[in-house]
């Protein structure tokens, strides 16, 4: 290596090139799935009403690329003992992240414009993304290991968001929604330069300070909260009656809080949004229903917490401590599923309790029930929301429980490649009727694949004595009941097609598949 910056850049790319690739592909997958669907629906991406959607997706790109870049760069602390000045560490990191995020945005917009004819502008978002990532990075370093970090990052992110909102007009009404940063003004350029220069200056101060162990002075609130919330267990607590009870306690204490805490945060956040922006009592009910209906979304994150049996957050391989418990793998898996069920039950109870209390207050204030619950909300959604949430969490958790994240990433990449192949085939090769045949084929294949994999999981688990026949039969009955209910509900709607019923039957299997999958996953993870 001829220079320190070159060596630093090489080291970063060597250690984190897979993060870079994974986040880039992940972002393309998410956005191309949505735009692929919109393209099939015949949406014109140059229509002014769609411009706001484009602006939001550009933000998604920026967020994902920034997270990926920060992940592959790693903390600068690993370089603190090298004989290099702090300014070199700062410039080595910030320039690489700016170039990396900028280039990814540029390439992504180019791909979107090529494939979907979105006509998104190149330079405004690219320069903004580069300035934004270095601002956030410098703020993170400046508040490292400090309770100020969330506040400072929120303020900087808020200012950046306001700037972006002003130039792209996300959700800013009909006039501004047509603005998509088509031209980079001198003011914009001044802003980019100011943000970048400030970031370099702040970064230098931060790294020089962090290098010798100095941190920002704490507020004391964090320490006080830790003292207050630090629950000291009862010394006279009775021993656990069984290993399963002890393991359930372990799982609950470690991961059970995930979903209830998500609901609590969702309620607080939703209430704040309502108080600041909405203040219409009739929309409270809708807000509650949206929160309850979309709990599967935060469930995606909770699933990976629940499915992690590793020593650290990024290592899913079961550690020695858990692996050496004198307990059968299927029993261990059952405690994880039981904890998940309890966590979900508590989460939905909190949601339902808050909804009931709010509803009672609104009724007492003279509102009628139809003001609180919109008429078009189907009754079955009250069952579908928790079942869907259970399926999402337990299926993903089972994948996590295998302890093989690289294998999972490879499968994701393969699915992405398959999807891209189908998309290209659909866009460039097939005729309209061929495209329809392909969609129908995928629609049939999807539930059949779910049913096939579920059957294989049960047969394998039975063969390995990881599930008993009685449990398997009970799960089959539950699946039949849910499928029947889904089909009966589906028949109430006109124009129901066979493929729709098949998809419902396939999706119903996801509710019971984790019973076998979790046991197999734990066993596979525990004994390698």
């Amino acid at each position: 290596m001829r220079s320190i910056p070159l060596a630093m850049t090489w080291e970063m790319l060597q250690r984190g090139r897979w993060y870079l690739i994974a986040y880039f592909l992940g972002a393309q997958l998410i956005i191309s799935i949505v735009f692929g669907a919109l393209a099939r629906a015949g949406v014109d991406f140059e229509d002014p009403s769609i411009v706001g959607v484009g602006a939001s997706f550009l933000l998604t790109y920026m967020f994902l690329f920034s997270v990926g870049t920060l992940a592959y760069q790693g903390p600068p602390s690993r370089l603190y003992t090298y004989p290099i000045p702090s300014s070199t560490i700062v410039s080595g990191h910030l320039l690489v992240s700016m170039a990396s995020v900028g280039l990814q945005i540029l390439l992504s917009i180019f791909l979107m414009n090529t494939f979907f004819k979105t006509n998104w502008p190149l330079w405004g978002p690219t320069l903004f993304a580069a300035a934004a990532v270095c601002s956030i990075q410098a703020t993170t370093w400046f508040t490292e290991k400090s309770a100020w970090a969330p506040l400072a990052i929120a303020v900087v992110a808020g200012l950046l968001g306001f700037w972006y909102h002003f130039r792209c007009g996300v959700g800013a009404g009909s006039h501004r929604s047509t603005v998509l940063w088509t031209s980079v003004t001198l003011t914009d350029l001044g802003g980019f330069l100011a943000a970048t220069a400030t970031s370099f200056a702040v970064g230098n101060i931060a790294v020089a300070r962090n290098r010798c162990g100095e941190q920002l002075k704490p507020l004391g609130i964090h320490a006080w909260l830790c003292r207050v919330l630090d629950f000291v267990p009862d010394e006279k607590a009775l021993p656990f009656r069984s290993p399963a009870e002890a393991q359930l306690w372990y799982e609950w204490r470690l991961k059970g809080w995930g979903m209830p805490a998500t609901v609590m945060l969702g309620l607080i956040f939703g209430l704040a949004i309502w108080l600041i922006f909405v203040r219409d009592p009739k929309l409270i009910g809708t807000g509650f229903l949206v929160l309850g209906g979309y709990l599967s979304v935060p469930g995606l994150v909770c699933a990976f917490i629940i499915g992690n049996t590793g020593r650290i957050d990024t290592d899913f391989e079961m550690g020695h401590f858990l692996g050496s418990r004198p307990m059968k793998s299927d029993e261990m898996a059952r405690t994880i599923l039981k904890m998940t069920a309890q966590s979900l039950l508590l989460a939905f109870s909190i949601w339902a309790g808050a909804f009931l209390v709010t509803g009672a207050i609104l009724l007492a204030c003279g509102f009628v029930p139809t003001d609180i619950i919109p008429k078009d909300v189907p009754w079955w959604s009250i069952l579908a929301a928790p079942l869907g949430c259970w399926a999402v969490i337990t299926v993903l958790a089972s994948i996590g429980l295998t302890g093989r994240p690289i294998l999972f990433a490879q499968i994701c990449c393969a699915v992405f490649a398959l999807y891209l192949a189908c998309l290209c085939l659909s866009l460039f090769v097939l005729t309209d009727s061929g495209r329809e045949q392909l969609s129908l084929g995928v629609a049939y294949l999807f539930p059949v694949a779910i049913l096939g994999v579920t059957a294989w999981l049960y047969v394998t688990a039975l063969k390995r004595h990881l599930i008993g026949w009685s449990s398997a039969v009970a799960c089959a009955l539950v699946w039949i009941a849910i499928s029947s209910l889904c089909v009966l509900i589906g028949m109430q709607y006109p124009n129901g097609k066979l493929v729709s019923y098949l998809i419902l039957v396939g999706l119903s299997a996801l509710v019971v598949a984790p019973i076998a999958a979790a046991s197999l996953a734990v066993s596979w993870n525990r004994t390698r």
């Binding site: 000291v232 002890a246 020593r311 020695h320 050496s324 418990r325 004994t527």
Partner: protein
């Protein structure tokens, strides 16, 4: 290499022709080993020799790709409750849940072992000076090791498996705690299997030793046998030699000119006769430390 078992009882750990590969690299290569009941069994080897991989097989965390592993006559993969319930284990990383308090760790671990001895656990906690309310994450490395030992010992396991127990412990803790525990367990007729590359420690406490190198057992025998069989013999030759002559029973040799020192394995009479036959005289013969024996086997 298998040797005769001193006890008439069946071995507590029986490993036959075990092979384990990670990718192309063989971590264990056709390894066979028997750990007899009772006493302290030291597993010694350098970094990457395969000690931890072997222990993971004994605990059922790794499945034998080839060969078989039996602990208490059971397959640890098929019967984790039957085997792990009778094993006390302290991992090299001292892996314990950071979020737990010491008291919670004791209460949690107790549930898995029907033979848990509450008074013994309390006695150990007091002697290790562990505060029940202290969180694991706030413990020092030494205290963490003590907490790990406590939960590994308190159910009075038939087999105590310690993977590199000395790392992270200061010399005083090593001598006072580890030595005492290992001897206590052994005296009670239980078995201790511990891996280490700190050979002075193994020499102090182990009754039997196995040397593992590149995934193979190079030697297994009782400590007395090993000491008796390995001697350092210094020979003086009549003429100056550039290279020492090959002699039967010699493992390695160092020296220059007329004086060469050999490390011998086995009965030295044969070696002496061979030396005398080529005109060499024995200048000195001495016992070897385990450290020297280990190095002579792996180099």
């Amino acid at each position: 290499m298998l040797d005769s078992i001193p006890s008439s009882a069946s071995p507590i750990v029986e490993i036959r022709q075990l092979t384990r590969k990670f990718g192309d690299k063989a971590a264990l290569n056709d390894l066979s080993l028997e750990v007899p009941r009772g006493g302290v069994f030291g597993l010694i080897g350098g970094n990457g020799a395969g000690k931890t991989t072997l222990i993971k097989h004994i605990l059922g965390m790794l499945k034998a790709q080839q060969g078989s592993v039996h602990v208490f006559g059971l397959d640890p993969v098929q019967d984790p409750v039957g085997t792990l319930g009778r094993i006390g284990y302290l991992s090299e990383e001292r892996e314990l849940p950071d979020w737990m308090r010491v008291g919670e760790l004791i209460r949690y671990t107790q549930a898995f072992f029907p033979n848990w001895d509450e008074s013994y656990a309390e006695e150990l906690r007091e002697s290790f000076d562990l505060d029940k309310k202290a969180r694991i994450k706030t413990l020092s490395r030494g205290q963490r090791a003590r907490a790990g030992l406590l939960v590994a010992l308190a159910h009075r396991p038939e087999l105590l498996v310690l993977d590199e127990p000395s790392s992270g412990l200061d010399p005083v803790v090593r001598r006072d705690i580890l030595g005492a525990i290992i001897r206590t367990i052994a005296d009670e007729g239980r078995t201790v299997l511990f891996s280490s590359h700190l050979l002075d420690e193994v020499e102090r406490v182990a009754d039997r030793v196995a040397i593992i190198h590149h995934g193979q057992i190079m030697l297994t025998a009782s400590m007395e046998e090993i000491k008796e069989q390995h001697r350092r013999v210094t020979l003086r030759f009549e003429q100056t030699l550039d290279r020492p002559p090959e002699l039967v029973g010699a493992l390695s040799s160092t020296g220059q000119g007329k004086e060469w020192t050999y490390v011998c394995n086995g009965e030295t009479t044969q070696f002496r006769n061979a030396a005398e036959a080529i005109g060499a005289t024995v200048v000195e013969e001495a016992a070897l430390t385990l450290d020297e024996i280990f190095i002579s086997h792996i180099l």
